[in-house]
């Protein structure tokens, strides 16, 4: 039996809660993305305000055929309709994501994870620090040794936006489309400008989250895919191998 040396124990990069909620969020986000697209193709038109239907001028339309023949898309083709299971999986995955967010949120505030690891540090909060770190990233300069154990100001900013802005807004705009939820809390819809505005915002927010996912995975790949994956799966930070 091998005993973890104190040095190895110290290098635990991600706690169990972070790792578990990270991967559950990843799986449910992919499910939400795929099923969200399936739901959108049943009415690939977007509106602003409270109401919108095929008799209302849309704010914009997606240049794709629809899965319902009542939507005039200009295409002579109707896509396969998969709304039934897509809606069921969308809401089930939304529950998984919401419960993860709850656990992670409580954990983050309780243990100081947000304060210590996610929110930019006070000394980083000036534009020179931002510019300096951004220039180093653009020059592809190798990260500081300290950055194997801690996020830099650019990463922290991205995570703050995703954790405290994009995910909460996506959940809010989703709930603002639920007639029963809106009956209990009408302001969830009114503050967004109405049900169709909520739907349009939900659509854009999911694109922003997808953009984050793409950049996030690209950064993981650039900074040493294997060691970063190992850190997020086993919790152990990368050693000098794999260039991390």
């Amino acid at each position: 039996m091998t005993v973890a040396s104190p040095a190895q124990q110290k290098t635990l990069r991600h706690s169990g809660v972070v790792r578990a909620t990270h991967w559950l969020t990843f799986v449910s986000f992919i499910a939400l993305l795929v099923t969200g697209f399936e739901i959108v193709i049943s009415h690939p038109r977007f509106y602003w305000g409270e109401v919108g239907n095929v008799n209302v001028h849309p704010a914009f339309t997606l240049p794709i055929p629809s899965s319902r023949d009542t939507v005039p898309t200009g295409y002579g083709y109707v896509m396969p309709d998969q709304n039934g299971w897509s809606r069921a999986l969308h809401f089930e995955a939304a529950w998984v994501l919401f419960l993860c967010a709850l656990v992670y949120g409580i954990f983050g505030f309780w243990t100081g994870h947000f304060r210590k690891q996610i929110v930019p540090q006070r000394r980083d909060l000036d534009w020179r620090a931002y510019r300096g770190r951004l220039m180093r990233t653009l020059r592809r300069a190798p990260p500081d040794p300290a950055e194997a154990h801690s996020y830099n100001v650019l990463q922290r900013t991205a995570y703050v936006i995703v954790i405290f802005v994009l995910f909460p807004l996506t959940i809010w705009t989703g709930l603002a489309m639920s007639p029963a939820f809106v009956s209990a809390f009408p302001l969830t819809s009114i503050l967004l400008g109405g049900r169709q505005s909520a739907r349009t915002l939900h659509f854009f927010l999911s694109w922003l989250l997808l953009l984050f996912l793409i950049v996030h995975v690209a950064m993981v790949a650039l900074s040493g895919f294997r060691s970063r994956m190992r850190a997020m799966i086993t919790g152990r930070a990368g050693t000098s191998e794999d260039g991390s």
Binding site: A88, P179, V182
Partner: protein, 252 residues
């Protein structure tokens, strides 16, 4: 074994025990307060049950917010329905004078009501939005008789837990729980925007469940029945929608 892992083992064990007994308590409470939907089985059952239970607890007696008259949609979209039968056309030509709504099941006094019977039982109107699961919506003034009123008239048994309702179109039926059925905004709708309910929108009679999506608002209503269990209807999942993969509860 070092102290850290022992502590972890104990906390883990306590957490697991709390989790399991918590689930057992939640399950018992959910059954007692009717928080389990008829389509609670299968892969998506946990999600459906969580949504239904949470929304039922949150919304139980709350009204849906209404809109000002100026926001009524100028060009509402009726959606497509199956072409009318010869019998429907005959009834339509006669101004739906012979249209009957049967009220039966767990009631003290089964009823057979014409549209004018319903009109004389009480009128309520509301300006609310109807939203389709596809994503589109419109606002209309809906005029009708509260379902609650008809259920009271028929003397619905206290054991009744669901109201199932049927369209004149074959294979089109649905159900709502008794809480939704007794909600003052759940209407047996026969009017829209100041006039009769047009046939494309479900006239002469449509179930209007404003806190749920469009597909729960069954058109061409001919029968409502009170029951203590949806097991006796169709394949037991509460409506025809679960057979097509859709949720029985459509509050979201």
């Amino acid at each position: 074994m070092n102290p850290v892992s022992r502590r972890k083992l104990i906390t883990g064990g306590v957490a697991a025990a709390a989790g399991v007994s918590g689930l057992a308590v939640a399950d018992r409470l959910a059954r007692r307060y009717g928080l389990i939907p008829p389509d609670h089985g299968g892969l998506f059952g946990p999600g459906e049950t969580l949504t239904y239970a949470c929304q039922r607890l949150l919304t139980v007696h709350l009204p849906l917010h209404q809109f000002p008259r100026s926001m009524i949609s100028k060009a509402p979209f009726a959606n497509e329905t199956a072409p009318p039968t010869e019998e429907f056309k005959r009834q339509q030509a006669a101004g739906f004078k012979d249209w009957r709504l049967t009220v039966d099941g767990m009631v003290a006094r089964p009823l057979s009501l014409s549209i004018s019977d319903l009109r004389s039982m009480g009128t309520r109107s509301q300006i609310t939005e109807i939203a389709c699961e596809e994503g589109w919506s419109y606002i209309a003034e809906w005029i009708g008789t509260p379902l609650e009123q008809v259920l009271r008239e028929a003397g619905v048994h206290p054991q009744a837990r669901y109201i199932a309702y049927f369209s004149s179109q074959s294979d089109w039926w649905d159900s709502i729980d008794i809480v939704e059925a007794q909600h003052p905004q759940t209407l047996l709708t026969w009017g829209m925007n100041g006039g009769d309910l047009p046939a494309p929108f479900g006239g002469p009679l449509r179930m209007r469940v404003p806190r749920q999506l469009g597909y729960k608002n069954v058109k061409y209503l001919t029968r409502i029945t009170a029951t203590d269990s949806m097991k006796k209807f169709g394949d037991g999942r509460g409506s025809v929608e679960p057979e097509a993969g859709y949720a029985w509860y459509a509050g979201i």
